[in-house]
């Protein structure tokens, strides 16, 4: 049976790619896809430290392939780290051995700084050379066509947080909403270009991390006015399915708005009630979640089993279409071990059979 983006193999030996595309196109695959979100585990598997991992596309590629082969989950990603998207705009990263990279300093002092410059050319951006190399390595490998390759980028409501800080960015929405809108409009072509370049190179879908697009950060009335029109532009111009990554932010109160935005899927916060979200989504949106990534490291194997089963029961409740992917709400911290993640995948496969 066909989906919007590709033909799905419905035979018994479904690949992870078939499974994920069947899920997002509303069909019922063999089992629930399992997405453990973690980047730091690659460094452990390659026996290098985190700052080294982020220097080369080969490392990201090798780490992802090794990780996927070990525990058999349902995606690989060319993702480096989130603040990378600010580097083509002049920001410099700083690396830590025990956590995610951050920015050395905030590159702009006011919104006019962005409005008065030309947007960087994604194609020639040095910062994207290694991520592009990673995608090329995936497309040449045996992974391509079997496991979905997920491209990641920062969404337009969250990218300016790296430019100005969250306080200053939100202050502009309060005091200068027109300027807030102008900045978003200005960066949309950049976001679309970077997404489409990744797709042209071979990623199968786009994971757009936009934590600001959640009711944890924005009140509901902002969504109709600002978020939906902008996301409609993104979804009509980006040539692959888009997953909205709320980075742990709550979305239960805006499920109908997310459906109107045109994205294929959304992540949920562990504070969201998956059963209620499933009802609100009404088989029009794929839900991904919502294991608590922070508590996960403290869970016993039995708790992992219970929590995975609970999530799958809620996510696949009363279904006529599947539209559910088991996932942690946001990246696992470095302290979460490979064996713990392995349990999530093991129980996900066990309880996720349709």
């Amino acid at each position: 049976m066909g989906s919007k983006y590709r033909t799905i193999n419905n035979s018994e030996d479904m690949t992870a790619l078939d499974r994920v595309f069947a899920t997002i196109s509303g069909e019922i695959p063999d089992r629930v896809p399992v997405f453990p979100l973690t980047t730091s585990i690659s460094a452990e598997l390659l026996n290098i430290d985190l700052p080294s991992l982020y220097q080369k596309g080969e490392f990201i590629f090798n780490g992802q392939v090794k990780f996927q082969k070990l525990i058999g989950h349902d995606f690989v990603t060319s993702f480096f780290y989130l603040v990378k998207d600010a580097e083509p705009w002049g920001a410099e990263p700083i690396f830590y051995v025990d956590g995610d990279p951050n920015l050395k300093s905030i590159p702009f002092t006011q919104l006019d700084d962005i409005l008065n410059i030309e947007i960087p050319d994604v194609n020639s951006a040095k910062a994207y050379e290694e991520p592009k190399k990673t995608i090329k390595l995936f497309t040449k490998s045996e992974i391509k066509g079997k496991v979905p390759i997920i491209g990641v980028l920062t969404g337009p409501f969250s990218l300016p947080v790296f430019f100005f800080t969250l306080s200053k960015w939100l202050e502009s929405l309060l005091i200068e909403p027109q300027k807030f809108q102008k900045v978003i409009e200005k960066i949309i072509p950049y976001v679309i270009d970077w997404a489409n370049i990744q797709i042209e190179l071979g990623v199968d879908m786009i994971f757009m991390v936009d934590g600001v697009v959640s009711t944890t950060v924005l009140p509901k009335d902002i969504f109709s006015k600002y978020v939906i029109p902008i996301y409609n532009k993104l979804t009509s111009n980006i040539k692959a399915p888009i997953i909205l990554g709320s980075a742990g932010g709550e979305v239960q109160g805006i499920i109908s708005e997310i459906i109107r935005s045109g994205v294929s899927a959304t992540t949920l916060s562990s504070n969201d009630d998956l059963t209620i979200c499933k009802k609100l989504a009404n088989e029009k949106l794929v839900l991904m979640g919502n294991l608590n990534n922070i508590e996960f490291g403290d869970w016993s194997p039995n708790t992992v089993k219970k929590e995975v089963k609970k999530a799958i029961d809620a996510g696949t409740n009363k279904l006529t279409k599947s539209m559910y992917i088991l996932m942690n709400q946001h990246n696992f911290p470095k302290s979460v071990t490979l064996s713990q993640i392995g349990l999530m995948v093991k129980f996900g496969k066990k309880f996720g059979k349709y």
Partner: protein
């Protein structure tokens, strides 16, 4: 207009995120009440009441709503400042509080909001900013004679560094200095603060004020 009516109007405008109108109403009433009365009964009261929680204890107000209230309050306090300076000679300022984001944490939204709330409630706030080493929190608290360190973190990995504040306090044998923490990781793991050897954890503004008042 009575002070209660001014509070209600200011609260409603703040809730609707009407930045200009909120400041206008303070400007128009600054000669009708004492600046301290407006600060405590209108601005602080609004900030304390704007943050509400659902039955599970999760904040049901967005970060933007809380930030908007803090920005309005901060700019309203600026209007009151010249009047407060004249009145302040006769009043007693509350205790000094050291605030900041822990080392490797650059997400200052919660801290900014807290700063305005504490100032509006009469505390002397020493803001160390973002990415602050544990030793600096402790050194500053000792130098300033402060008995409270309020530390914030948004990222889990950086939050783990908060335990170094307790280690620094132990080194200097300063049990009298209390540590309170807040931020996103603590919403997702209510036991985390115990691992970090912190005295109190809350993201609820009213709870913070209540702890500071009692201890």
């Amino acid at each position: 207009m009575e002070i209660d009516e001014l509070y209600q109007k200011f609260f409603n405008l703040t809730k609707m995120r009407e930045y200009k109108s909120s400041l206008e109403i303070i400007n128009n009433n600054v000669n009708n009440f004492s600046a301290q009365e407006i600060l405590v009964k209108v601005i602080a009261q609004t900030l304390n009441n704007i943050q509400t929680f659902d039955e599970k204890g999760y904040q049901n107000v967005s970060a933007f709503q809380v930030l908007a209230a803090a920005k309005i309050a901060s700019d309203a306090i600026k209007i009151l400042e010249p009047f407060l300076k004249k009145e302040i000679k006769n009043s007693i300022q509350k205790k000094k509080i050291i605030i900041g984001n822990i080392f490797q944490d650059y997400h200052g939204l919660g801290k900014e909001i807290l700063k305005v709330v504490l100032q509006a409630n009469g505390y002397q706030v020493i803001d160390l900013g973002l990415n602050v080493p544990a030793s600096k929190f402790v050194e500053t608290a000792i130098k300033e004679g402060a008995h409270w360190i309020l530390v914030s973190a948004m990222m889990y990995n950086s939050a783990l560094g908060i335990k170094n504040i307790r280690n620094e306090l132990k080194k200097r044998i300063r049990k009298d200095i209390k540590v309170m923490c807040g931020g996103a990781p603590f919403n997702y793991n209510s036991k985390l603060y115990k691992k970090l050897k912190v005295d109190y954890m809350t993201n609820n503004i009213n709870e913070i004020l209540s702890i500071l008042e009692k201890k």
